[in-house]
């Protein structure tokens, strides 16, 4: 590659920032541990190690035009594992900032997804997944490959767009949608916590939803996925309580939708139903790489409906992956600490869309001795009590 030609095309500020980055990364061994650890898009993503190498080689254009920049979920795992204590996640974050300010040449679904979320968050700290999806479609992105958050965003938009009709002011919608039965895949962790499991059913019932659960729900990486697929053979889609389940079911060919999205949308459609939140403000924690932007969008939508504030500090939007995909607590991460400190400062509880996120973050809070409550979505949101008693078939 012609390095000279590359650098000519970029303003001095970009060249200077790349020099700074190269200085910080100069001690890199290129051992590949960061890329080995990276949980993002296992097939497509070539990982942070390659980007660092390109920075060191002065290949500015190759870096800024790389899709890989946008496949990073800023989970922070690379920073955690780096032998040389390089803050790799921060390096990638700075690259995205440079690209936003000076690049603009690249167009890929991941980047668009991140852009939309970031732009909306900059305007007001609430986003709704509807408008997010519409924006995705307006940009003409219907990717054929599986690329995590972006694809989910589009899927949600496609699924929900026809039903979303603007109601003229004063016109009453249907009083209630009645009781719906949704196929629900509980995943590995939820059924182990009996109290929480019961709570999910109870909260869903509040929304007029009955959950039909497969008996042998297992882990996302579990062979029972096949059994689940056959159990719900007739179902249009399966609802889940965990973004990792979501992504894994998709991989197995089963369309999956986060239950919280469905409940939020249901409340949104029905004038007789409203979301109630347990506190006037909360900090979202969507550590999971599998579904970050869409899950954040859903939380934003829920916040808007419940009339509460979603406190978002930009770096914590992409806060840390708790390591939940492996299903076990591996100690507090730097990113987790950053998030918990932010929540403590805002005196707001943390709300997650995944039970593993909740448990792991809970452990992290205890380990770090930061006194912040961490709630699972149904522990924080529920339907307002005055559900109409009128029943209609869905």
């Amino acid at each position: 590659m012609a390095v000279a030609a590359d650098t000519d095309a970029y303003p001095q500020a970009v060249i200077d920032e790349f020099k700074l980055l190269a200085d910080e990364c100069s001690i890199c061994y290129q051992c590949g541990t960061c890329t080995s650890s990276c949980p993002s898009g296992r097939e497509l993503y070539r990982g942070p190690r390659r980007l660092v190498r390109l920075i060191l080689a002065g290949e500015i254009e190759a870096v800024l035009k790389s899709d890989d920049l946008w496949r990073c979920t800023e989970c922070g795992t690379c920073t955690e594992v780096c032998r040389m204590d390089i803050d790799v996640a921060a390096v990638l974050s700075r690259l995205r900032k440079i690209e936003r300010e000076h690049g603009g040449a690249i167009s890929c679904p991941e980047r668009t997804a991140a852009d939309v979320a970031a732009a909306r968050l900059r305007r007001h700290p609430r986003i709704d997944n509807m408008q997010f999806g519409v924006a995705m479609m307006a940009k003409g992105h219907f990717p054929k490959d599986k690329v995590g958050a972006a694809e989910t965003g589009i899927k949600i938009a496609k699924q929900m767009l026809p039903r979303r009709r603007k109601r003229p002011a004063g016109e009453a919608g249907p009083a209630s949608e009645g009781v719906a039965t949704l196929p629900f895949y509980a995943g590995c962790a939820l059924p182990q916590d009996h109290e929480l499991h019961a709570l999910v059913h109870e909260v869903a019932a509040g929304f007029g939803v009955r959950l039909d659960e497969a008996a042998d729900a297992g882990c996302c990486g579990h062979p029972s996925r096949g059994a689940v697929a056959s159990h719900y053979a007739s179902a249009e889609r399966v609802y889940t309580a965990c973004p990792a389940c979501d992504a894994s079911l998709e991989e197995a060919g089963v369309e999956a939708v986060p239950l919280w999205d469905a409940l939020t949308a249901r409340a949104g459609r029905s004038p007789a139903m409203a979301l109630r939140a347990a506190a006037p403000a909360f900090v979202p924690y969507v550590g999971c790489l599998a579904d970050r932007d869409a899950a954040l969008a859903a939380l934003g939508e829920a916040a808007e409906q419940a009339g509460v504030t979603m406190e978002v500090d930009y770096p914590t939007l992409h806060n840390g992956c708790c390591g939940a995909l492996g299903g076990m607590y591996r100690g507090a991460t730097k990113a987790g600490a950053r998030l918990l400190e932010f929540a403590a400062e805002k005196h707001a509880p943390v709300v997650t869309t995944c039970v593993l996120c909740r448990d792991n973050l809970h452990s992290a809070a205890r380990e770090l001795k930061i006194d912040v409550p961490v709630h699972f979505w149904p522990e924080f949101f529920r339907a307002e009590e005055h559900v109409s008693e009128e029943r209609t078939d869905d």
């Binding site: 541990t33 890329t35 032998r83």
Partner: protein, 808 residues
């Protein structure tokens, strides 16, 4: 010292050398007239000629006790020229008017001659101190060697062979250390138990248990012993040892009955609390006191009554001239690599794999293959800022050795080595790497952050194949971690007992990474082998032999002569701790002031007094330079230093004074002079034994005498032979700078780090500094010209004048 008064009979002789006409800018007539006022002058065309040397020999043999001053080339050059005469006792005071004057200055004959006169005056009035003091007293002929592994045992055997008495201290009951316990070793692929023999047969080696060198009458072995305390000083240490009883006496015939009745396990894997090792042989069996329950069954069953539980620990004190630390290293503990799934089934270390391999070899002979796929992870916890930052140097070769063994036993086994870098730099090592590739071992560049496990508990290694830039998921049956090495147990405690430094990785720090690989920060305490960092056997063997001759030199250097140690003037010492903290060699201690000593008025009876141990003092002068009371006399006294500055700067309008260390900086300046790299005559150089000798007072005195600038030239950064001479000088320079600034007369002050390679640039440095001190604005052209000269310096740096000695 020497008076210039005519009344004294000892009028010095000055031998003026014209250096074969190469000193054209010195008017020797005038110089002689100047010097002959207070000395007898003999001129010579070049004194180093055969005729000149014969004349010198006559003068020397005449021996009238008069001071001989040679005015000519630099001390280094003269020392080589007059080497033979000096060996026969010729003592010359050298006044360097060649490299230090004529060769480095221009054509202003009057100015150059005046400077030469000053140099000679200074040498006559303030000569160097004689180096004829006995600086090393008697040294005990005993060496305490700590550690009975390959390194310690071999060094001990060689020292005994050289005629020294050796006390070998080993923590365990058996000699042989780690090397004897592991199976085969690289690069020879045989057992790790041989030592070179010390007998006359070159090239022979023998096992620990057969090597008679260890049974030398002057080699006493203390088994199960550790060092408790160390006192004394270099050449005469008192070392106290604690020895645990062996409990099994020499009567043991190794029948093994005891082991069959013993119910307790040893802390060493696979052994009972009463156990034997095959490789030493001098002690057959021992009891692990950590785990033994003292049930007494073994003693009851022993047919030869060799087990004696009545033995108890004992303490002994040995006196030694030198101590050798050969405590080795040991495998890193689990905490450094448990992030890679260690502790879970299916993950082992290379050490554990080595133990498994013997059994696997048996399985191979039965046609069985214990695992189908095996992954080795290199740098497990090593070269990692979060764990062990250092490279343990052995792990790459251990992995290759095991991989080749596996592929030899089981050609069908899939063996993958995930590596960061393969480091195979050693004699014959590269062949092992080649053999492993030929044998079909897969080398995957990339290291995993963790080892995961699938639902069947089988390891899953997700790793980036860096060279292919894609991720791989390996599902081996066994993961083998190539873990690093750490200092042996209790190294920290031992180094504290011996008051020696440790490096950043916790190993014993060697004194100098280039030249002093077997010495520690404490004089008389030596190190060899893996105690100073993990090493392969070839290096350990080499170091053991090296340290033996190093210790031999140390012990036999008693009576060597040098310059006198510094001394404290009790009448001025106030008992502060500046000198004792500054001394790089720990030679100064504060003692209770004896009642009879003189003391300064302000000191009360119970005050302290600094005392310098003449055995440990190396006469660097750092204490003298830093003493706030100027109470310490160095062999180059403050009076002499002030005098040199005064004589050298006398009559110069704006002198630039340069203090330089005679070692590396002296080499750079002397060699620059031989290249005739010019600088102005107003630069006046003063040689010091170490830059640490310079104090703020000397700098301020130079300023008082009108200096326009002062530079200090010391040795290369961090390379001071006295460890902290340059740091001391920097502090003193700062103090002087503050004093001068406060008195409204700030002065350009600089400190340079020089070594012999700087001969090409030091002339330019001096020129630029002189210009700066002179207040001359350095134009761009000047700088460019200087840079050009430096660029052309490969040949010669002068402008090419008539006296130019191009190609010299």
């Amino acid at each position: 010292m020497t008076s210039s008064s005519g009344a004294a009979p000892a009028r010095p002789r000055v031998l003026l050398c014209e250096c074969a006409g190469t000193l054209k800018n010195i008017d020797f007539e005038r110089l002689e007239q100047h010097v002959c006022v207070h000395a007898d002058v003999t001129r010579g065309d070049h004194w180093c000629s055969r005729v000149g040397q014969a004349q010198l020999l006559e003068l020397m043999e005449a021996g009238d006790g008069r001071q001989l001053v040679f005015a000519g080339c630099s001390p280094d050059f003269a020392a080589r020229r007059f080497q033979k005469l000096m060996a026969r006792g010729l003592r010359l005071e050298i006044a360097d008017i060649r490299e230090g004057c004529g060769w480095v200055h221009g054509d202003d004959v009057a100015a150059v001659t005046a400077k030469a006169a000053r140099i000679i005056d200074s040498s006559i009035a303030y000569p160097d101190a004689p180096a004829d003091t006995v600086s090393y007293a008697e040294r005990r002929n005993t060496v305490v060697v700590i550690g009975g592994g390959v390194a310690g045992t071999q060094a001990a055997a060689e020292l005994a062979q050289m005629g020294h008495h050796v006390e070998l201290v080993e923590r365990r009951a058996f000699l042989g250390g780690r090397a004897a316990r592991i199976g085969t070793v690289f690069p020879t692929n045989d057992c790790g138990q041989c030592l070179p023999t010390t007998d006359a047969q070159a090239g022979t080696r023998k096992c620990f248990h057969r090597n008679v060198a260890i049974d030398h009458p002057d080699l006493a072995i203390h088994r199960r012993s550790t060092v408790e305390t160390v006192s004394g000083h270099p050449g005469d240490f008192q070392v106290s040892l604690r020895t645990l009883p062996n409990m099994v006496t020499d009567a043991c015939v190794n029948c093994g009955t005891c082991e069959t009745v013993c119910e307790a396990d040893s802390s060493e894997p696979g052994k009972k609390a009463i156990f034997s090792e095959f490789y030493d042989g001098r002690v057959i069996r021992t009891i692990d006191l950590e785990t033994c329950t003292f049930c007494g069954k073994c003693a009851e069953e022993c047919p030869v009554e060799a087990i004696d539980f009545s033995q108890s620990p004992r303490r002994t004190t040995v006196h030694a001239g030198a101590i050798l630390t050969a405590t080795g290293c040991e495998p890193a503990p689990e905490k450094y690599f448990d992030y890679l799934g260690y502790g879970h089934d299916g993950v082992v270390t290379q050490v554990e794999l080595a133990e498994m391999l013997d059994d696997w070899a048996a399985q191979a002979s039965l046609g069985r293959m214990p695992v189908e796929e095996l992954v080795m992870v290199q740098c497990a916890g090593s070269r990692d800022q979060r764990h062990l930052p250092h490279c343990s140097r052995l792990c790459c070769m251990i992995a290759l050795k095991h991989a080749i063994r596996l592929k030899t036993l089981f050609p069908e086994m899939k063996v993958t080595i995930c590596y960061l870098e393969m480091r195979t730099a050693g004699v014959g090592y590269e062949n092992w790497f080649l053999d492993a590739r030929r044998a079909g071992v897969e080398f995957l560049r990339g290291t995993p952050p963790e080892v995961q496990f699938d639902s069947h508990g089988r390891p899953v290694v997700e790793v980036e194949d860096v060279t292919a830039a894609r991720k791989r998921v390996l599902r081996p049956d066994l993961v083998v971690l190539s873990t690093g090495m750490v200092p042996a147990i209790d190294t920290e405690k031992l180094t504290q007992t011996l008051t020696i430094d440790r490096d950043q990785d916790g190993f014993v720090e060697i004194l100098d990474r280039k030249n002093r690989a077997t010495e520690t920060s404490a004089e008389g305490v030596f190190v060899c082998g893996s105690a100073a960092g993990p090493k392969a056997l070839i290096e350990v063997n080499t170091e053991a032999s090296a340290v033996a001759s190093e210790i031999h030199n140390f012990l036999t250097s008693a009576g060597r002569r040098g310059t006198a140690a510094s001394q404290v003037d009790a009448a001025q010492c106030v008992g502060c701790d500046v000198c004792s903290t500054m001394c790089p060699f720990g030679a100064i201690t504060l003692v209770d002031r004896p009642g009879s000593t003189p003391r300064p008025d302000e000191v009360k009876d119970d005050g302290k007094l600094a005392v310098i141990d003449a055995q440990s003092c190396r006469a660097c002068g750092i204490c003298a330079a830093n003493c706030p009371e100027v109470a310490i006399a160095h062999n180059l006294s403050d009076d002499a230093l002030f005098g040199r500055v005064a004589v050298m700067t006398e009559g110069v309008e704006k002198p630039v004074v340069g203090f330089y260390c005679k070692e590396c900086a002296g080499a750079a300046i002397g060699l620059s002079g031989q290249r005739r790299d010019r600088y102005p005559e107003n630069v006046r150089l003063i040689e010091l034994p170490c830059l640490g000798r310079v104090s703020a007072l000397h700098i301020v005195e130079a300023a008082r005498l009108g200096a326009a600038g002062v530079f200090l030239a010391g040795c290369a950064e961090g390379r001071c032979q006295y460890r902290s001479g340059d740091t001391s000088a920097r502090e003193q320079m700062q103090i002087a700078g503050e004093v001068l600034a406060a008195s409204g007369t700030p002065l350009p002050l600089e400190l340079w780090h020089l070594c012999a390679v700087d001969r090409l640039s030091v002339g330019r440095r001096i020129r630029l500094f002189a210009a700066k001190a002179d207040g001359e604005l350095l134009s761009l052209e000047t700088l460019e010209r200087e840079m050009e000269l430096i660029g052309a310096a490969a040949g010669a740096a002068c402008g090419g004048g008539e006296a130019c000695g191009r190609g010299r």
